[in-house]
Subunit: 407 residues, 2 copies
């Protein structure tokens, strides 16, 4: 048995935990050769493949060090496979997999990447290809993957956002004047990460107002809410989803760089700055927009719980792939008072190209949302790693620490 | 002997270390009462004053916990005292200080705040006020304070910037395409923090290009340098000072919110976004602007060296204030192979309203700058604190943990 692993889509802080889980399982289950495809499926297409050195993996303590190394260490891609399974690209992929005598191909990615898993399986079915199983490992900071309790990567993004917002609150409180600070948080159409900023309110008021992708509001409503909030606090902190749109779409940038290649998602940013400009103009108070940007998906502020779960999902995926194809392991939350998860699985089509938004019933008002989010997300941000610093700077494991050099 | 302490100007991650140093010295030297003025000098003017509870300070372990609590815990202000010492505001201040039987007034702040120290001393001299000594403790992330080797706060800002840039590099490297990521770094007219991002290059290439406030370049030169850099690297990371201006001032925003109250400094931001838009338009590559914003001055990524030095300067300031007025303790680097500092002092007029830029001889080219910055700044970012997390979120000491509640 040989296996190959790839990472795809936007990175998370724990996507390498899943990689570590797959490799650990491969060693445990006696896989002979373990390959990594660089830049997702593109590595297979362009023959850009590395081989894991099992001895180096163990001696470099890569199993643990990968769990604390943000962003996809095998690289990534946003490559969308053609819809037609007659396209010759599929033949190219399977020829390469056959050449490497691959029995399991594990693709770590989000809803777009699960589209890749689905299509490869569709091709295999149509062409009666056997002996190769293609399974996925879910990941995304956005927490918008369907059928699972939560998405691996979300807990760490949430943890970064919360702790950064706590630091921002310490900063904005220092001046004795009215101010509005607007923090723009990732999540595309789903407001999960933004909503989880309310965890920071557990001990003291950190976030005053919140605007999610799931909620429509007019800019006039927002202005009214800001005025009202000034009755209780001088320095307001507003958390806003990057995907939030006011009713008139006044806060949305129109520029020439709004579409992601590949899966054609709009690249959305600018709502905080536009909202900041608007509030400043209308209320003549100090305003500031802060876009947390890509730091929130590749920060070393990692939830150990999230990292452990991502590891287990990677492990499960390879184990399941020995006898199954087209499988995605998922997390289910046990119905217990203490937070516990169990692992189950679904088919790629249950996850591919779908998205899960915050339930409507949670969105009635900020208190309801906060209570629901604390119950839901607080357990997922628990636990910390000890960062390794060298010369005052973070030191991470490198790919060359655990791959064969002359592959 | 009673003393009063205030914090002023923009916060740093270690400004509370200096506060801790002052309070510790006050306890050691037998000061009877220790007051804190909230929001800088405004607390004295508005009778917004707290008293430190020595027992609580010790029992809450505030001495250490303040050294790891970013942003001014006593609040801050950007209040500029009138130039005329005949203004009745001075009388109001000294009446309050007399009422509290203050013998030492310690003002922790940057070059603007040292203007306050200078003016108070000028007033005392003119009015023959004795028995009260007013001294300052230097701080600023910008590292632009004169006469001292480096400014307390700079090391931690630099450490945050370096480690954040290392995380950003992990993110931008994942896609196999040409991209330009531009990171905007604070420092007003001084490029120190931005230049110190080159420390991250010590182990591997993290920063490809750098544009400092101190250097003038045309946008065409920048484009040429970006094209050249693409020969060596696909994903470019550019560090840019918030105060960098191209020759045509093409990258500078003109909006209606550009002046800080009080000291009338321009609020500068937007250069990264404008540079990003320009490069995208000209080269048709993926570009992204990231503004590190206020997170860089109030992050929990703290240099222990910086924090210890800030503590010692606070301690020195109060100790010196027993017999002197108008004194600012400063850091000097010893002429030794191992990094060591010694403490000296200057007058407030040596620091007030002046700024120190990067020496011209360091700015010849990026290699020269990098070598000089590594020698200069690497020792200052050394050492880490163990963060305290509760429920997955950073937990900091609060003011009420060490002040008298019914003051």
């Amino acid at each position: 048995m040989n296996c190959i692993i790839a990472q795809s889509g936007g990175p998370t802080s724990v996507i390498n935990s899943s990689l570590s889980g797959v490799i650990t399982c491969a060693i445990d289950q006696g896989f002979e050769r373990i390959f990594g495809s660089l830049n997702g499926i593109e590595g297979i297409l362009n023959d850009n493949i590395v081989e894991i050195d099992k001895d180096k993996f163990i001696s470099s303590n890569a199993q643990i060090r990968l769990m604390n190394r943000p962003s996809s260490i095998l690289g990534s891609c946003r490559y969308k496979l053609p819809d037609s399974i007659e396209d010759k690209i599929y033949d190219k992929i399977f020829r390469k997999l056959k050449e490497l005598e691959i029995t399991s191909f594990i693709y770590i990615g989000g809803n777009d990447s699960m589209d890749t898993v689905m299509k490869l399986n569709r091709y295999m079915k149509a062409h009666d290809i056997t002996g190769i199983n293609v399974c996925g490992v879910p990941k995304t900071i956005d927490n918008d993957l369907c059928v699972m309790d939560h998405s691996p990567g979300f807990g760490s993004a949430s943890k970064f956002v919360n702790n950064t917002i706590i630091n921002i609150r310490n900063d904005i409180d220092i001046y004795d004047l009215n101010s509005v600070t607007i923090v723009e948080i990732m999540g595309r159409n789903a407001g999960w990460i933004c909503a989880s900023s309310l965890l920071a309110n557990k001990n003291s008021k950190v976030v005053d107002l919140i605007y999610l992708s799931e909620i429509e509001k007019s800019k006039e409503d927002i202005l009214k809410e800001v005025k009202e909030a000034f009755k209780y606090n001088k320095n307001l902190l507003i958390a806003v989803s990057e995907g939030f749109q006011d009713k008139d779409k006044f806060f949305i940038n129109n520029n020439d760089q709004v579409y992601d290649k590949g899966f054609n998602h709009p690249i959305i940013a600018g709502v905080a700055q536009n909202m900041s400009d608007y509030i400043h103009r209308k209320l003549n108070v100090k305003t500031r927009a802060i876009e947390l940007s890509i730091i929130q998906r590749t920060s070393n502020i990692i939830s150990k719980t999230d990292s452990n779960e991502a590891f287990n999902l990677g492990y499960q995926a390879l184990r399941l792939s020995i006898d199954n194809t087209d499988i995605i392991p998922i997390l289910k939350r046990k119905d217990s008072t203490k937070y516990e998860v169990e692992y189950s699985y679904v088919n790629s089509s249950d996850v591919a190209n779908k998205e899960k938004l915050i339930p409507k019933s949670w969105l009635q008002d900020m208190n309801t949302l906060q209570e629901n989010m604390i119950e839901y997300a607080l357990p997922i941000i628990q636990g910390e790693f000890d960062d390794i610093y060298e010369n005052g700077m973070l030191s991470f494991i490198n790919l060359c620490d655990f791959i064969k050099v002359n592959n």
